[in-house]
Symmetry: C2
Subunit: 433 residues, 2 copies
């Protein structure tokens, strides 16, 4: 039953090799090129999706220093430290109070013997070199008093944020390949950036085949079914960070599939097909792509045995194609095992914890059997005791059972039977990415 | 220094209470109401963001059974099991081959002594009750032969997927409160759903204040700075699953802030303000909202001490308001500690692993000091040995240091000094959500 099949590891490696050969190396995701985002609130608020999970495409140098000017770290009085060298509890220094300085206003010139009320973030007046917090002044509030007393000396620089103390103009602000986190976007804006170069997201063309497949709302003739794969795999691709083009081919005619490819492939970085890959009498994907050199064969996995992999030519060059079987469960499992981590690495620069599904070794709540020689992927749930139970059987048509599951359960190829309490590898599929 | 301050835990509880009192209970997130998504590929492909991380607002009942009709689980021959009861290797049964049945075509009627070539997913012909896989037939391929031999009996139902075996029409398909995962969306489409009711996302109005604040591209007068908070907090809110309305108030005038609120608040579920909350001479948020009953005070946290919390009235009722301090680092830390988990729970139904930042107790690579009585939140990185090191000092103006960090480091209120090797709680801030 398993002779002539490619192992799961070998097929995964083959997918990596095909992606790498066509400029989509998950280990060097810069190959996708660059997209410019304008640093503007209208863009962020209108389309936050465009800003989420992005990776910087180039080093960013600080256009301005941060802080841009010396400013107060506390609400209080800007002073000359030299005026307070002799100040003590029993011999407070008395300073003349000038009009207040607030954030956003140019500072006045401070002369010896003077103090200026200053608010956090306000520029230090010329001549001042320290801030005395309001609660250490006498009186400890802002009012219309003409003089204020200070009962202690302060070192120069106290509670002053020096210009450039966070980053100096011309210094490296953010590194290529790092994530555009909220803090990174904030510091870009603070330092005066008007645009930011991020890596382009992989654009995936998804073509679900099958002349029995109809879209939602269409009346079904006998033997026809509604399209599940375009929706489940489309959302799964988007969850992994891809942009998607969805072009179902409601046909088993290679001429029709070729026409769809010609119309849609030039805009894509990667082609994913669903269905038409096994050894039946009419296999539209295989019929069209095998003669073009795309590999079709069996992988030692259940579900998801029949697979295809290769490249197709367009005017713009070779585009990788990965072909999944048509059963919705087989298709999603194939995506999880062979494509999702690579796509997420491409989309997120590989640095994100989200690239791999959260994995855990968990004990079984029930015995499970698996055909020897096939890596079986079951769908299941984790009970209150942390034990794993399969939902539905192994059959690839049980999409409802998949939808009720929270983990994938991996039964390796060499395993035939696992007992209650035996540990299995699980992948969480209910969280974010 | 810390007298009169609210503890971090108390303020967090106060935020929960305010949200719950205004219909935004993270423990009962159905309060936000419902949004209808059309199950249509145009919607999914054009705006996948609208489909990601959604929670079902109501139970969904299967409109159709899955599978919709009995169909073949393998490529092979549909047969009557009764015709093969006597079949054996030395006495194969010979059956007449009818024209093939493929997926999407109504099945022919199978009479005794007949076999029909059938492809995976194709409807079982009337009269057939089992499938013999092609590799078990003689010859083991599809051709134009008129007869095929079978060398073994088969039980009725073998390799037949029975109609309704995944889910029966009228049964519960998906439960309210569960995630709209790829598999869930797929099974909805397969079962004929035309629309799906999901929980509405919280809509957050973000108002950054400060008359020194200017937008990207604006020329800065002395003392002015570019807006960082609208970008960093805007993206952080979107990352947590919120829809955002961003309306900066480049002013410290309460009349101006009031006008912005009147114009923008009616569309929002929650108001977040930034800046103008401490005890300075001109604090626009506090000046406007304290007289309306919003609480302002100090929380025993550093950064993020000055906070505000309460509700504001609109024509449509009370809307919760949470007021963060204006320093970008203070603002982001306040968001992480007081709002992000609640907002993510509201947006994702609380079931997602993404609600909390991934936490870990990690040893320090350096000694750290923290003021007694204040819960200090430092920004840091984890070195190759898994030890934590602070990036930049404790000061709240070091946004660039924050942007280079991958973890928040929590130094609890009772801690004054931690030594090299002491464990600290860290929150990962570089992954998804």
């Amino acid at each position: 039953m398993t002779r002539g099949r490619r192992s799961v590891a070998d097929h995964r490696a083959a997918v990596v090799a095909v992606l790498a050969a066509t400029g989509l190396d998950p280990a060097a995701p810069a190959g996708l090129g660059v997209e410019e985002l304008p640093v503007a609130l209208t863009s962020l608020a209108r389309d936050p999706h465009r800003w989420r999970d992005r990776i910087l495409a180039a080093d960013v140098v600080a256009a301005a220093s941060l802080p841009l000017f010396d400013n107060a770290q506390m609400d209080g009085y800007a002073v000359r430290a030299a005026d307070l060298t002799a100040a003590a509890a029993d011999a407070p220094a008395a300073l003349d109070v000038l009009p207040a300085t607030v954030a956003g206003e140019p500072g006045a010139l401070l002369r010896t013997g003077q103090a200026v009320p200053i608010m956090t973030g306000a520029p230090m007046p010329a001549g001042a070199d320290a801030v005395v917090p309001i609660e250490e002044a006498d009186p400890p509030w802002f009012g219309d008093h003409a003089r204020v007393r200070m009962a202690a000396s302060v070192p120069p620089g106290r509670f002053v944020r020096r210009a450039g103390s966070d980053v100096a103009a011309g210094d490296l602000l953010l590194r290529a390949g790092s994530a555009l986190t909220p803090a990174a976007l904030g510091v870009l804006a603070a330092a005066g950036a008007l645009a930011v170069s991020v890596r382009r997201r992989p654009r995936v063309l998804l073509i679900v085949t099958g002349h029995e497949v109809r879209q939602p709302g269409e009346t079904l003739a006998p033997g026809q079914i509604h399209d599940a794969n375009s929706f489940s795999l489309g959302l799964a691709l988007a969850d992994a960070g891809a942009e998607i083009i969805v072009a179902p081919c409601e046909s088993d005619d290679p001429v029709r599939l070729r026409a769809i490819l010609d119309a849609t492939l030039p805009g894509a970085d990667l082609l994913v097909t669903v269905g038409g890959v096994s050894a039946g009498a009419r296999e539209v994907v295989r019929d069209l792509l095998a003669p073009l050199g795309v590999w079709f064969g069996a992988v030692a996995m259940q579900p998801g045995g029949p697979q295809g992999l290769g490249t197709v030519s367009t005017g713009a060059g070779e585009i990788p194609v990965i072909c999944f079987p048509g059963n919705p469960v087989s298709c999603l499992v194939s995506f999880e095992v062979f494509l999702r981590p690579l796509l997420a690495a491409l989309a997120t620069g590989g640095s994100s914890a989200a690239v791999e599904r959260p994995r855990a070794q968990l004990p079984l709540a029930e015995a499970l059997e698996s055909p020897r020689g096939l890596h079986q992927v079951r769908r299941g749930i984790v009970d209150a005791d942390g034990r794993v139970r399969a939902v539905g059987g192994a059959s690839s048509h049980l999409l409802h059972a998949y939808a009720r599951s929270t983990v994938l359960i991996h039964l390796p190829a060499e395993v035939e039977r696992l007992a209650v309490g035996d540990d299995v590898e699980t992948w969480r599929i209910d969280g974010c990415r």
